[in-house]
């Protein structure tokens, strides 16, 4: 049934570096009685190429993503605001002039949701029954989700309902961590300076756990914090919402 079937677009970073985030996403969705399908030929949405100034390559990747997702049923759930925005906004823009793909890209875009948007806005869930004892968590709103898709309230609502979890705020929470995909390697020093500012705000917040909806930002912040020898944990919101203990 299309109503109870959803498609997982796991993203290339989750696939290769943080597959546990994908598994958590699947479990959260299945606990809601949904059937999760994983279109096996999915690869990368094309955002790295798009942001780096390679629209032709981005278009080819977007076409592939549209091909993989177009014939499927139900909502396409993405555990990333950034990749979701690529599929929702940029892929239809890139393929607007392509007679074979324009309509399909629009359809795929319209069916795509970032995970917390799907849980809160579409399923009407505020509480997914997660538990996490004794941790102080701070939420980092990733830029593309926040400003591209307007994700702010949804993750906070979900975090607020996690049993045992104390939620605190980061100073200047809305400021970018400095990841920015290719930005982090094309402009490494300025990216690292932004990271330092962000990590200082994490340290000052007293949070032992930083939660975000994008593994790109998380690996940037975690990689920087490890370099400091600091033990703060960085977790994707799906891992936290999947949690039933600790």
């Amino acid at each position: 049934m299309s109503d109870s079937t959803v498609q997982l677009f796991v993203t290339c970073l989750v696939d290769s570096l943080f597959p546990a985030v994908g598994e958590s996403t699947v479990r959260i969705l299945e606990r809601q009685g949904l059937t999760v399908e994983f279109p096996y030929d999915q690869t990368c949405c094309g955002q790295p190429a798009f942001n780096a100034g390679f629209p032709e390559e981005a278009r080819a990747m977007a076409r592939h993503t549209v091909d993989v997702l177009h014939g499927t049923q139900g909502t396409i759930v993405v555990p990333s605001g950034s990749c979701a925005q690529m599929i929702i906004d940029h892929a239809p823009e890139l393929l607007r002039e392509d007679p074979d793909y324009a309509a399909k890209a629009n359809d795929v875009g319209a069916r795509t949701r970032e995970l917390t948007m799907f849980l809160v806005d579409d399923l009407g869930l505020g509480d997914v029954g997660a538990r996490r004892e004794g941790a102080i968590a701070a939420y980092h709103p990733s830029c593309h989700g926040l400003r591209g898709l307007g994700i702010r309230r949804q993750p906070l609502e979900l975090l607020g309902a996690v049993a045992g979890l104390q939620v605190t705020e980061l100073r200047e929470a809305d400021t970018c961590c400095g990841f920015g995909g290719v930005f982090s390697v094309e402009m490494p020093d300025i990216s690292a300076a932004m990271l330092t500012t962000k990590l200082n705000s994490v340290v000052d917040s007293g949070a032992g756990l930083v939660v975000a909806g994008d593994v790109g930002c998380l690996m940037h912040m975690a990689g920087g914090m490890r370099r400091r020898g600091d033990a703060t944990s960085f977790v994707h919101i799906a891992e936290l919402l999947d949690g039933t203990g600790e």
């Binding site: 570096l17 597959p19 790295p48 190429a49 100034g53 094309e186 490494p188 690996m219 990689g223």
Partner: protein
Amino acid sequence: MTKRHGFADRAAAAVGSTAAKATATGAKRLDERRREAADDFAAMETSRDEARRIRLHTLANLDRYLDDFAQAVADAGGRVHWARDADEANEIVVAIAREAAATRAVKSKSMATEEIELNHALAAAEIEVVETDLGEFIIQLAHERPSHIIAPVMHKTRQDIGELFEESLGTEYTDDPELLNASARAHLRRIFLEADIGISGVNFGVAESGSICLVTNEGNGRLTTTAPRVHVAVMGMERLVPSFRDLGVMLDVLARSATGQKLTSYTTVITGPRRHDDPDGPEELHVVVLDNGRSGVLGDSTAEVLACIRCGACLNVCPVYRESGGHAYGTTYPGPIGAVLSPSLLGVGEWGDLAYGSSLCGACLEVCPVRIDLPRMLVELRARYVTDGHADRSLERAIRRYAAAATRPAVFRALLRAGALAGKVPRSQEGWIRSLPFMGAAWTDHRDFPKPDSRPFHRRWKDRA
């Protein structure tokens, strides 16, 4: 090794400097003020929509509004001069000064004259020019360039300015802003009275009346445009609004976005030179309309950037600007607006790397009073930079290879398996890599990189079935 772009190098050198720290402090302060002012103004969002509509409408009909404006300026007794580029604009101003037998000029704050480097041209023509805006005055004493569109000395501390005044004005050292202000004021007052010519910028030209509007907080703009015999206003050709009603909308969003004020201390509207019954004012008013690359941008995919009203809000909120400071950008206009404007006006080949100086976080779009989609244009300029053959070669190779793999699912999965194998090789601490070669070094110079998982999601999904 990755190729280091110009901006990347300059920004790297600036990070952590006193100037960058002063910039971060100043930018945050202005950003907070903007936020408070916007929160206090119920009509902020609708005014932004309206301001955007007005600016885009003006740009779409710019030829007509320029004609109207020029006619109205002439009708009011002023003269309009058209300058194709910086050299022409400078020649025009120098010629006006010579004709008026002027040897001393005062200037109020103007980014357009910074853009054309008018001060150099005047100096070369042996016309003494003094900046009268406090910030610009400091910049002139220090032989520097502004680091911010509305706060030219954002990169300087009070102590820097105290030392500069002690050195160049011979005043006793103080870092008390009131006292510094007073000594600049005392120094400038005399210069105002001796000046033959006053040079200003233009915040908005009003097409229906030929008026020019100046938005300032120091009163120097009024003195500059009234005390000397001749007033020359240099205006970017895009800076028009059709009517006074439109001007009101623009002022509502400009002051709030720039300094968090409802209205600046002085909002001056000048229509023509002194009339017979006016007690004061200049005998001549000249408006120099500057193209300098703008007409080329008008028909371009970045045309929207010309809607900018130079409030500086995008600089204040930008984390890249905050960490690097304005001088790292290397051109007249820093920050996200500069990263779009400079390559658009001056050429992608030389300045296109500025477009990579953004994490595309979108904060600039969020605060822009006219909602200019800077992130979209930054991406477009990157694409133009690549198309024109300026791309970082290692980035280009990496993207092309990745795209080739990502459009062939079997190859992509093979890449995942290869990554998983590589991830099994122990390198330093568990789960994380301390040092990567080639492009990866740009990452691991500053942060650890996660090891590829030994069981990628594709594999896990298959195992589960």
